[in-house]
């Protein structure tokens, strides 16, 4: 099928983007890389009246670290560019690894980091990575600019804190931490969305032998990325050995309530998630500096 008719505009400033999004006569949608939106248009799952292409807005393609060391990724920064950037790979390797799990190079060359976050497919890699990395989201709207934390950004499947008349202008990741990290997922084929997946970060306690802080966030396990404090508590203070990993896996089995779908039952997803968690924790602990 082909998309239904719509108009297209490629404005030159965030202000113009917002003015177009405020159009109450017709539904306007933001177009960045289009790798999720265009198939939805072609299948007529989306029928917007206007596409607002934000890739020509000066400044939205910025990828930089500020004086505090935080990483800023503008709304038009493409996934390949972020994943291949030496600063990102060195300082935020979990992000680079998550991006490499998205589709294929042909998709990542066009798709944007912020587009995937704003689209919020709960099986997608980037929302989970963003929650694991404590991302902040800068949202411009008619009333000015506001910042939302990752825990409040993802609302439900395909729903975020960004209102229809607002634009996610950038995502900000806190200064690099020397945490160990891992991103593990189970997908039916390489490049597919995750059946289930997990992002883990581990930090050594001052004694260097035990886990000082842990974070575990799952994708494909609910309508939003699922962070499990019980898993994190099961790991914190331990030596990340077999007993601790077993306890963490049990906590994941108990804490996750994924849905059944055509690809996997809920029980299978839970089981797979627990195994992926053990593998991810082992890798993350090895990567702790």
């Amino acid at each position: 099928m082909k998309p239904t008719p719509f108009d297209y505009s490629a404005p030159g400033s965030v202000g113009e983007v917002l003015a177009l999004l405020a159009d109450e006569e017709r539904e306007a949608k933001v177009l960045a890389g289009g790798q999720s939106l265009i198939p939805m248009l072609s299948m007529r799952l989306a029928r917007p009246g206007l596409l607002v292409d934000i890739t020509r807005v000066p400044g939205l393609d910025r990828l930089y670290t500020d004086v505090s060391g935080a990483l800023h990724i503008g709304a038009a920064v493409r996934q390949s560019r972020a994943a291949d950037d030496p600063v990102v790979r060195e300082g935020w390797p979990l992000l680079a690894a998550a991006i490499r799990r998205i589709g294929h190079p042909q998709i990542r060359h066009r798709g944007t980091v912020c587009g995937s976050l704003a689209h919020h497919d709960p099986a997608a890699e980037l929302p989970t990575a963003a929650l694991a990395l404590d991302a902040r989201f800068v949202i411009a709207g008619p009333g000015g600019t506001r910042t939302v934390g990752a825990a409040d950004f993802f609302v439900a499947t395909f729903q975020t804190a960004v209102a229809p008349d607002e634009l996610l202008t950038e995502v900000v990741l806190p200064p690099r931490a020397r945490d160990g990290w891992a991103f593990e997922e189970l997908a039916r084929r390489h490049g597919d969305f995750a059946t289930v997946g997990v992002a883990v970060t581990l930090r050594r306690a001052p004694d260097r032998r035990t886990v000082g802080a842990a974070r575990a966030v799952f994708c494909g396990a609910g309508p939003v990325p699922v962070r499990l404090p019980a898993v994190e508590e099961a790991l914190t203070g331990t030596d990340a050995g077999t007993a601790a990993l077993d306890a963490a896996a049990s906590a994941a089995l108990a804490g996750l309530a994924p849905a059944d779908d055509v690809h996997a039952t809920a029980a299978y997803r839970r089981e797979a998630a627990a195994h992926l968690l053990v593998r991810a924790c082992t890798l993350a602990w090895e990567r702790c500096s």
Binding site: M1, K2, P3, T4, P5, F6, D7, Y8, A10, L31, G34, Q35, I38, P39, L41, S42, M43, L51, D53, T55, S80, R100, G103, H104, P105, Q106, I107, H109, R110, R189, H190, G191
Partner: protein
């Protein structure tokens, strides 16, 4: 009362000059480079790049398979990088540099090393998916450093060949990479 015919709606005039495609919607003039030639065209907002190439420019070497970004048959080089032309609107390509499979060896020009390698290794079965594979492989040979085996596998995973395994396709890509990066640091990549 008479209608003022002297001042027609400029939007209507634009539409009239455009090919009679489907329902009226936003029309835009785009300028881009396709296989080295400058192209200026009026396109409807919703026109996919794949349809623009095939139906408007007659470049039917770019194949259309799944039309939602899975199969890779429509892959072209957009500003030097392989991209799905079915997941791109023609109107997004204002100012872009596009390369299609037709542009690799136009007319009687000799085949490129990638095309020759696909021919010599029989990197195809029915050939439907081949243009996409060839464009992705072309991009691999144009990287500054030789891609490693994982990069090659990752790039080829973006294409579906339903006829056969990928053995000969991978062999063809490796032959082309060997030719391009003769004596390079990486191995055969197989």
């Amino acid at each position: 009362m008479t209608t003022d015919l002297a001042t027609p709606d400029p939007a209507a005039a634009t539409r009239a000059a455009a090919p009679p495609l489907a329902e009226p919607s936003g029309w835009h003039e785009i300028r881009l480079t396709v296989d080295g030639a400058s192209v200026t065209a009026q396109v409807e907002s919703r026109l996919l790049l794949s349809d623009f190439l095939r139906d408007r420019l007659g470049l039917t070497g770019t194949h259309v398979g799944c039309e939602h970004g899975v199969c890779g048959a429509c892959t072209v080089l957009l500003d030097g990088e392989p991209a799905r032309s079915c997941l791109t609107l023609a109107v997004q390509c204002e100012g872009a540099e596009l390369r299609t499979v037709e542009g690799l060896a136009p007319g009687d020009a000799p085949l490129t090393p990638v095309q020759r390698a696909f021919h010599e290794c029989h990197g195809m079965q029915c050939g439907f998916c081949t243009p996409g594979f060839v464009m992705t492989a072309t991009a691999l040979t144009e990287q500054p450093q030789r891609p490693d085996a994982a990069d090659v596998a990752d790039a080829l995973s973006g294409h579906l060949c339903r006829c056969t395994g990928y053995r000969n396709i991978r062999r063809a890509v490796c032959q082309a990479l060997d030719e391009r990066f003769a004596g390079g640091p990486a191995g055969r990549g197989e």
